[in-house]
């Protein structure tokens, strides 16, 4: 079971993940239309790139935009959640050992204590993101069952990983559950709206180009996000 999940199944997962992401990116850019979107992307590419960079960079910085500053609690939760979500699995020691065994590659790794803290950070922020959806009417009204499912898909590998690492009750059970949920997560990224993994950048680049080229970027100093 373990051999299969970390062998052929892992390869299949990565194939779906990477091809899905690449396909989404190509599909997105091919679907842009200067006339329907009303943005002259190509004739003013340098303004577009400037606008796109502003649009992405300010939004990648915690409290970098007025919106992030307006919702400080949400901003902390969102950044804590995503930083843990992205860095922990990539730089986890155990993952890099498997990577090295299977594919002969590995990355620098996080100290175990830090990885454990980041994992907890993901679980705790996921819990508060869940509460936030339930507690506030302005979030409840737009929340669907799908949103809860996706939150579960994203948090599950961290919960199971945490249990496995601390060998709670049955290590084997948590380990297998962790691998499966991790693979589900990776496959879900290109196939569900977790595709904002790449969609965030695509959409931000587009709107940045829109502001950079059409909506003032060629006359003003650029949008003050």
């Amino acid at each position: 079971m373990y051999e299969f999940l970390t062998g052929p199944m892992l390869i299949l997962t990565f194939v779906i993940f990477f091809i899905g992401i690449i396909w989404r990116t190509i599909w997105y850019f091919r679907g842009l239309s200067w006339q329907l979107d009303r943005v002259a992307y190509k004739p003013h590419l340098s303004y577009g790139i400037k606008g796109a960079l502003r649009s992405v960079i300010f939004w990648l910085l915690p409290f970098g935009t007025r919106s992030w500053r307006f919702y400080p609690g949400t901003t902390l939760l969102v950044f804590a959640f995503h930083i843990g979500l992205l860095f922990t699995p990539v730089f986890l020691k155990a993952h890099n050992i498997i990577l090295n065994e299977r594919f002969g590659i590995s990355l620098p790794t996080l100290p175990e204590g830090l990885a454990d803290a980041l994992t907890l950070m993901v679980i705790i922020s996921a819990f508060f993101l869940l509460l936030r959806r339930i507690a506030y009417p302005q979030h409840r009204i737009i929340t669907t069952a799908y949103d809860y499912l996706l939150l579960l898909i994203a948090a599950a590998p961290f919960i199971t990983g945490f249990m496995a690492f601390h060998q709670v009750l049955n290590y084997q059970f948590w380990l297998i559950a962790h691998i499966i949920s991790g693979e589900v997560f990776l496959v879900a990224i290109p196939l569900t709206k977790l595709s904002h993994f790449i969609g965030f950048f695509l959409s931000r680049i587009q709107l940045g180009m829109d502001y950079g080229i059409k909506r003032g970027g060629m006359k003003g100093k650029g949008m003050a996000w």
């Binding site: 679907g31 842009l32 979107d37 007025r66 959409s203």
Partner: protein, 461 residues
């Protein structure tokens, strides 16, 4: 029942159709007919498939339902944080649902969509600045208005407005003759006070081609005279075109893209015909947005630019003040606290905030910014056509509260509002809420405080 006599899928292209609609007071019969208008679901879905591309599809799909757009919307704030006013909810329950059902929707659904697209959104695009993914719901509502228009579900006034553009190339029934007469009349009217004042029509090769909002010749012709006076004092070599002088676009508010194209092309034709060095448009936000920002795309100009460089009035004023073409008498500067209404259409959506600040630094001693301001300012409450829609008057008046409170918080009683929609909305908010504020375009303020060179003054009798 299929299509009605007044409410149908056919745009207004003749004066006869237009008069029939105008005769239907407040659109009573029009809205009654709308209750029976069927939805051509096949055509609707075909249009969606052809025009809903990766940008809009991605926006609809990846919305994380995080709710960060909620507080960006002035309707949400004005309606005591009613969750049904959250922008994400508004677009997901209309356009989102329409796409999920593959266009298989009925009359009741389309009427609901219309009521949201025009009655709960002014397409101010503020939400797009607060969404981490950059999902611009104003853009989506504008797109949705186009879909509604194609199915005949549009507010009565906008069917008329778009029809006006189709027939007269203006938002009102003003013929070329009416326009030229108004120019002559205004020049004559003010000639005594301003010797040598003219409104030159169709002069080729001028430095500036000036264009207006049809309301000016129709209802406020003195605005045209004021523009002439300021150009005159500044020593500008300017002209107005006899045709292609109207920059506004009720067609844009209606989502009638074909009429939008017809309208802006009339202005672009004038630009090409007169070969002025540049174009300057009057103090109107959506006119600039329609003709300068969006128009080139409707007209299919791949570089996204108008045929000659185009400027909003605030850009010209800022430049004239900086270069000294217009000089302000320091004794006549505005002494009282004064604030500035940043128009969504030329500030947020066209980046002209600095021109506005330059002007205020020259004319006001106690300029007070609204909070928030510049790109982040709230819509006046009357944008996107909302000022003119009887069906949504209650919603509009309620929404004005946000602007009211913003103005009051500055402690100023005077609002400079160089945008017709903002100007109207602020006038109406004073009428509704009686808070004791005044509002003004730039032109009358400037005329009251400029230094007039001796040779331009009337000779003493």
């Amino acid at each position: 029942m299929p299509e009605g006599k007044l409410c149908n899928r056919t745009p207004v292209n003749t004066e006869e159709q237009l008069h029939a609609l105008l005769a239907d007071k407040s659109g009573k019969q029009y809205y009654e007919e709308m209750n029976h208008l069927n939805v051509d679901t096949k055509a609707l879905w075909a249009t969606i498939q052809k025009t809903l591309k990766s940008r809009l599809k991605t926006w609809l799909e990846i919305c994380a339902h995080c709710g960060m757009c909620a507080d960006s919307c002035f309707f949400y704030l004005a309606n005591k944080k009613d969750p049904k006013q959250v922008p994400s909810y508004k677009i997901q329950s209309t356009l989102g649902e329409l796409v999920r059902r593959k266009g298989q929707v009925d009359n009741a659904f389309m009427q609901k969509v219309m009521d949201v697209a025009w009655g709960k959104c002014t397409c101010c695009n503020r939400c797009g600045m607060y969404c981490p993914f950059g999902i611009d719901m104003g853009v989506m509502f504008s797109y949705l208005r186009g879909l509604c228009h194609s199915q005949g579900f549009i507010p009565w006034e906008l069917k008329i407005g778009a029809g006006m553009h189709r027939i007269y190339r203006a938002q009102m029934d003003i013929t070329t003759e009416d326009w030229v007469d108004t120019c002559e009349w205004m020049a004559e009217e003010y000639e005594d006070d301003w010797p040598g004042l003219t409104i030159p029509v169709d002069v080729a090769g001028a430095d500036i081609m000036y264009t207006v909002n049809a309301r000016e010749p129709k209802h406020y012709p003195e605005d045209l005279a004021e523009a002439a006076i300021l150009f005159h004092v500044a020593g500008e070599n300017w002209t107005v075109p006899s045709e292609g002088w109207e920059e506004t676009s009720l067609a844009m508010f209606a989502g009638d893209w074909e009429a939008c194209k017809l309208q802006v092309e009339s202005v672009y034709d004038a630009m090409k015909r007169l070969q002025a060095k540049r174009m300057v448009v009057t103090e109107c936000g959506h006119a600039y947005r329609a003709t300068v920002i969006e128009g080139p795309y409707w007209a299919g100009l791949p570089n996204g630019q108008t045929p000659i460089p185009s400027f909003h009035y605030v850009e010209w004023v800022a430049e004239a003040l900086k270069s000294g073409k217009l000089k302000i008498d320091p004794a006549k500067k505005i002494k009282e606290p004064v604030t500035y209404q940043d128009s969504c259409n030329y500030i947020r959506n066209a980046g002209l905030k600095d021109a506005a600040r330059t002007i205020m630094s020259y004319i006001a001693e106690d300029f007070r910014e609204m909070s928030p301001c510049k790109e982040h300012n709230f819509c006046c409450g009357g944008g996107g056509g909302m000022n003119g829609l009887g069906r949504y008057r209650k919603e509009r008046n309620n929404g004005l509260k946000v602007k009211r409170d913003q103005i009051l918080a500055t402690g100023s009683n005077l609002v400079v509002a160089p945008c017709h929609n903002c100007w109207d909305a602020i006038r109406d908010l004073e009428e509704v809420y009686r808070v004791g504020i005044r509002w003004s375009f730039l032109k009358p303020l400037l005329i009251s405080m400029i230094e007039v060179p001796e040779h331009l003054k009337p000779k003493e009798e």
